[in-house]
Amino acid sequence: MNITVLYFAQLKQNRGLAEESVETDGGTVGGLYQSLAEQHSLGLPIEQIRTARNEVFCRPETPLEDGDIIAFMPPMSGG
C-alpha cells in the first residue's frame, strides 16, 4: 500500500524533507514511524511524538490503510 508521510519541525529537519511517499505492507502508524526513524535517524522516540491519520490525531496502534496521509509531529511548542 502507498502512504503519504508528513514531517514537521525537528522531524522535518532531521529527515531533510517535509513529505514523502512510502510503500509498505501494512502495519500500524507507530510501526511505520519506527521503521522510518531507524532508516533516517529521525531522532525522537515514538513515545515523544504525536501522530495523525488523515488530519485527525491518532494513536500509534492505529492500522494503516492504502492512501493514508500520516503526520509525524514533535511535541507542540506554539504560543
Partner: protein
C-alpha cells in the same frame, strides 16, 4: 472560524472590536509576544511552523471545549506563523462573557491548551548564529522548572 492561523501580522484592535457586545459584562485577552531571550541566550528572531489544516481543526476544538466548560459569550484566537522578531505578537486570544470570572478562566484555559495541543512549532534563532527547535518536554528547557 473562531481560530485562525495567520502568516500576516495580527491587529488586536480589530479582533477586539469583533467581540464587543452589550450583553457581555467583561472581556479578557491574552497576547503572547516574542521574547528576545530564552534560557539565557539572545534570540534574534523565531519562526513558527504549523500543520495548518490540523492546527485549525484542533484550535477550533480547543475553543469549543472552552464554550462547553465556561459560561462565556464569545472567544476567538489567532496564532501567527512565519518569521517573527522580538516584540511581535505571536498569539492573540480574546474572550467575552457576562461575568469576569468565566472570561479570565476561559482565556487561561485556551492559551494553555493551545500551547499543549495545537500543532504549531517554534524555531528559535540566536544572535550567535545557532538555532533550536523548542521542545517544552525537554528537561533541559527551563519552562518546566520556572513555576
Amino acid at each position: 472560524m473562531r481560530f485562525q492561523v495567520s502568516n500576516e501580522p495580527v491587529d488586536p484592535a480589530s479582533l477586539r472590536s469583533g467581540l464587543l457586545s452589550k450583553t457581555a459584562g467583561g472581556y479578557c485577552s491574552f497576547e503572547g509576544w516574542v521574547r528576545n531571550h530564552h534560557l539565557g541566550r539572545d534570540v534574534i528572531r523565531l519562526e513558527y511552523e504549523a500543520y495548518p489544516s490540523l492546527a485549525r481543526k484542533q484550535g477550533e476544538s480547543v475553543l469549543a471545549q472552552a464554550f462547553d466548560q465556561y459560561d462565556i459569550e464569545n472567544a476567538i484566537a489567532v496564532h501567527r506563523t512565519g518569521s517573527l522578531e522580538p516584540g511581535e505578537l505571536a498569539i492573540w486570544i480574546g474572550v467575552s462573557a457576562a461575568h469576569r470570572d468565566a472570561a479570565f478562566e476561559a482565556c487561561r484555559y485556551i492559551i494553555d491548551t493551545i500551547k499543549e495541543t495545537v500543532p504549531i512549532w517554534k524555531h528559535e534563532f540566536y544572535t550567535d548564529g545557532t538555532e533550536v527547535w523548542v521542545d517544552p518536554t525537554d528537561c533541559s528547557c527551563a519552562h518546566s522548572h520556572e513555576e
